[in-house]
Each structure stands twice: as structure tokens, then as C-alpha cells.
Point group: C2
Chain length 360, copies 2
Amino acid sequence: MSGRGSGEPEPPREPSPVEWLRGEGRDADVVMSSRIRLARNLAGIPFPNAATREQRLEVMTLARARLLDSSQAPGPGMRWIDLSDARTIDRLALVERHLVSKQMVKGVEPRAVAVAEPGERLSVMVNEEDHLRIQAMRSGFALDETWRFIDAVDDRLEARLDFAYAPKLGYLTACPTNVGAGIRVSVMLHLPGLKLTGEIEKVRRAASKMNLAVRGFYGEGSEAVGDFFQLSNQTTLGRSEREIIDDLEGQIVPQVIEYERQAREAMLRKRRMTLEDRVHRAAATLRSARLLSADESLQLLSLTRLGILQGLVEGVDLRVVHRLVLLCQPAHLQQAAGREIDQGERRILRAELVRAALAC
Amino acid sequence: MSGRGSGEPEPPREPSPVEWLRGEGRDADVVMSSRIRLARNLAGIPFPNAATREQRLEVMTLARARLLDSSQAPGPGMRWIDLSDARTIDRLALVERHLVSKQMVKGVEPRAVAVAEPGERLSVMVNEEDHLRIQAMRSGFALDETWRFIDAVDDRLEARLDFAYAPKLGYLTACPTNVGAGIRVSVMLHLPGLKLTGEIEKVRRAASKMNLAVRGFYGEGSEAVGDFFQLSNQTTLGRSEREIIDDLEGQIVPQVIEYERQAREAMLRKRRMTLEDRVHRAAATLRSARLLSADESLQLLSLTRLGILQGLVEGVDLRVVHRLVLLCQPAHLQQAAGREIDQGERRILRAELVRAALAC
């Protein structure tokens, strides 16, 4: 990730695991991870898109000092990644790790992301749409814990940085939907049961009525591939952080978890053979394919995960499945190869990598 | 096969192998088997559809005596199967073994088929469209050998039976397309290469121009499933047996064999990964599916066969693949179960049977 654009290929290596794909913690059979993101801007400096290069540089300098200075750092061992220096595939890999937004890959200069090791449970985008976008992640269903953690980080940063804030509105942000609490709360759900029974559309409609966004694996504008869905609040104005979190934590997410578990049970009870057929074919295809697209691999990994959780597929480690979800992504695949490779060759490499990882 | 309609289920058993799925002999990589069928009628008795029950019974009596009497029998160990006595699944299994036509399953009474053991290389339908339909089969590309064999059988039968024959027309048959030599010559081709490269349509058009019929796995009216195709002559009037056989033996079939081998080589050379992907997925799906339809299993077995022949799939015995082609058919599956079972349950049983047969 720290590779420079020098053309010097990095040696193939296993990327470190990410918190949001650890697959542990409360209700992790359905909730892969919980995430809270806060939008913050420095008072007296225009938002990144309106600022001059010098002003953005000032934001970088201030943020870097506060984030990396160990006496003031919000988390231990933060790593600073300057996106201007990074290779394209390393920038895209950051998107795949959910550390950087798609928009930021080709954003303003200069821009960076600070990432806390290990596990990348805390990260801060600098000069994305807002000066700072602070993000905390936890495996499983843990919004409350995530909130307490990011709130403390926010407090420590605010003690050293002057955040733009208006008493009547709250935190000021570049996009109106974030004004106020400036918070986005989301959970990554794995809903293969509701997908198989066709009830997923009900969840979509219910979420939409409650003003929640249902997004795909890669957030805004991405399709739901592999039965992974992000559920998050849409607006923050006029609502406190606690209200937003309580809605998701206490009401909506537990209900979706319940629906998904019922769907899985119903499949096991009423259509067991269909379910067994689907998950065994998926695992066998992963173990035998010579060409795999990113979308297909994600779909097959999703079904294999379901198979393991329901006790149908044996001999496959759930952690390997989670690791592969990330490794099958295009940029991670190219990082593993140590060079840029085209889509056709990626399909071959992806299949090789999956077969090796799942070899009995 | 000799079960009576008494409702007494037969014990599950492995059906004997059939010659046309043995997959050995000349050019067996492309030509599964060669088949010649002669249509013969007894002089002075109307064709089965026009005859009275008594006349058809007379045909049965005469045919049975000539076919089973060991001193006059055309082949050793012929077995007489009265279709009126047989269970529905046993009748359908005879169709699947290519011993009886689809039309004959619900044909006139009485009707029978005499089958030479072992291997079912010779069989005679009695009271199908014609009084006698004599059929000889050989594994691989062996039209000449098949012709010499069936011609000798025909001579031996003709020495004892008075066949309807008109000097100017030749043998008289119920259907005008068979009048004359009364011969149908066909080869069962396995053409997965031409199917994958899309060139199969060229073969179809060329065959059609040469007045040859291209049929599916189960003859007239059946779709080409699993890349298996039957190529056969359409008419016989005005042409000698030798001319018809020489056309196929010397001209058309060798050309199709060449095309198919070129297509397989081209896939290996230019699209090796695609080919490997297809055949490995096919073998893995056979080994892991919990639900299999007859059509899908045939398609997967076809690709697995190609994979074995091209040296890509290891650890699967070609003979097992050939055996499964027959065992996956609905009636054989029900015979294995010892009872009639519905389509849904058949899909489960078929998958179980295939997994067991391919278990490493």
C-alpha cells in the first residue's frame, strides 16, 4: 500500500486481514460488520473542492500532525498513505478495503488516508469531500461499541482541531445530507437466505420507507453482489447520533437479522435439497474453476459461507472464505501478482488463487 | 427387463453394459457407435398397423420360433421380451437402451423385442412399424463390420422366413422412406468441440444438403443433448446398401471426425483456459450436485468425457462416464430404485448415483 509509482513491483504477499471481513462478534452470521463515519471540517478553511491547493495542503499538514503524533494520536500505530504517491492498484485496493471512497481515487490534490493498524478498525480520509472523514469499523453487530470508540476519537481530535460547527445546524459538511450530526451509520449484511427465498425486495422496500439506504458491496452506486448489502442512514439533520444509532441498533437491524435467519431455516426445512445443491455446487465450482470473474467469485463465496454456517459444507474454513472475498477483488489480485494485469488474465489468476486457498 | 406387470419391484441392480456406449473401437473419441437397421416384413401378412390381432400374433409366433430356436437363431443367447408384459419403466428403459423405438412403447398388441446377450449388439423389434426391424450395433466407427454382421443375420433369417419383396422396388416396408434396401445406417457422434466452437451448424447444413438426418440422442424428434448427435441416411429407394454405407463410411463421417478433432485441437491451442474451465466445472458439478436433471447430467458427462479425452480431467474413468450416460436416464434410474418415482425425486436420486459413481 505504501508502494510508490516507481514501477518497482512489490513482492507478492498476503494482505493483512481487515476488521470488517473478520466475521466474528455478535450476530456475525448475518451482520458482517458495523461502521460509523463522521464528517468533519476545519473552521475557516473552505471545503476541499472549493479550497486552493495551499489550503488543502494546510489541512493535510494539520491532520497529519494530529493523527500521527503518538502523544495525540487517536489510535495506536496510524499509517499515513499519501494517495498522490500511491500506484493506481494500491489506491484501488484501498477502496476494496473500504478505507477510501471510490470518489477519492481521482480526487483533489493533495489527499491522504490515515489507517490504524492492526485490523484497520479506524481510518481517516483527508481531503475527500470533507476535510476529514473519520471511520470506525467493528466485526459483527456492534454499533454501540463502535459509536463509543469513534466518539472518543472525535473528542480527542476536536481538542486539538477547530471543527466547523454552527449551533443551530451542527457540524457543517460539504454535502447537505451530512450536515448536523455529520454521521453515517451502516451495517454490512449477508442476506443469502432472503435472496434465495426472494424476500429481499421486502427488506429493500421497508428500508426505503424508513429513509435508510440499501447499497451494494461497494457502497454508493454499486450493485449488491454476492448477497452482501450495506444498510445505512440517509440524512442526519435534526437528529442526534444516538437517535440514528438506536434506530438501526434497536429496531431495524435486529428485525432484518431475524428475517434472514427465518429464511435460512425455512430453506433448510422446506427446500433442503435445493439449498444443499446450491451451496455444494458453489464450493465445488470455487475448487475447480479455471476462470473466475470478481462477481461470480463473490456470489460463490457467499453461498459457500451460507453452506458452512448451516452445517452443510464441511472442510472449508470460514476465515478462508472471508479472506478470499477481499483477495478476489481486482486490485488485491493485482497486488498479489505484483503488477497491473488485464481482466482476462485476472480471471485465470483469481481461479488459481481460490483453488490454492481451498485445496483440501 | 423381464419384470412382469405384477407390481413386484425388482431388486436394485446394475444394468448390463450396452455396446453403443462401450466407447471403444476405431475413432471412438468422436464416433460412439455404429448402427444398421433393416426393415423386413413377412410376405402375405399386412403391415402391423393394418393387420388383425391374429395376424400380428402369427408374426410373433413365427419370429419367436426363428429368433430363439438355437439351431436357427441369428445370434447366440437371444432373449425375448414381450412388451405387453413389461412394466412401463422397463419398456421405457428399452428405449433408453436404443432397443425399442419411442413409437413402439405404446404400439400395437402383441409386440416384442428379441435381444442378443451380451452387449445387445443385435436386436429385433417385432410388430413395430414393420414386422421385423433387425438392428445391429458396434462400438466406435465400424459400419463395414456392422454391415457384414447384419447382412449374415438377414440371410439366415430369410432362409427360414418369406420376406415381402418386389423385384423392381426391393423390400416392401410400411413407410415409403424405407422401401428398397430397407436399411437405415447411422452413427452416434460425440461433437463437443464443434458445439463449443459453434461450428456444429455447418455440419447440420452440410448433412442436410447430402440428404442425411441429424438427430438427437434419442433419435427422431429428440433434441441434441449433451453434444451427442445421430447422423443417418434418410431414404433408401433406388440405392444399394453398399452405396448408402460407403457414403457415410468413406465420405461424410471421416470428414466430421476430422472437423471435430480440429475443433478440439483449436480449443486446446487457442482457448485452453476456457476449455479447462468448462470441463473441470462440469466434473466438479457432477461430483457435488444434489439435484441433477437428465439433460444437465448428459451435458456435464459430455464435457467430462471431452476433458478426459483431451487429458485435462484426471481421476475419472471413461467407462464410468459412459455407464452414467445410461444410468442417468429416467427409466434406468427408476429401475435402479426398483420403483416408479417422480421427476423431483429422480433429480435427487440421479445426483446421489452420480456422486457415488464418481467418488474418488
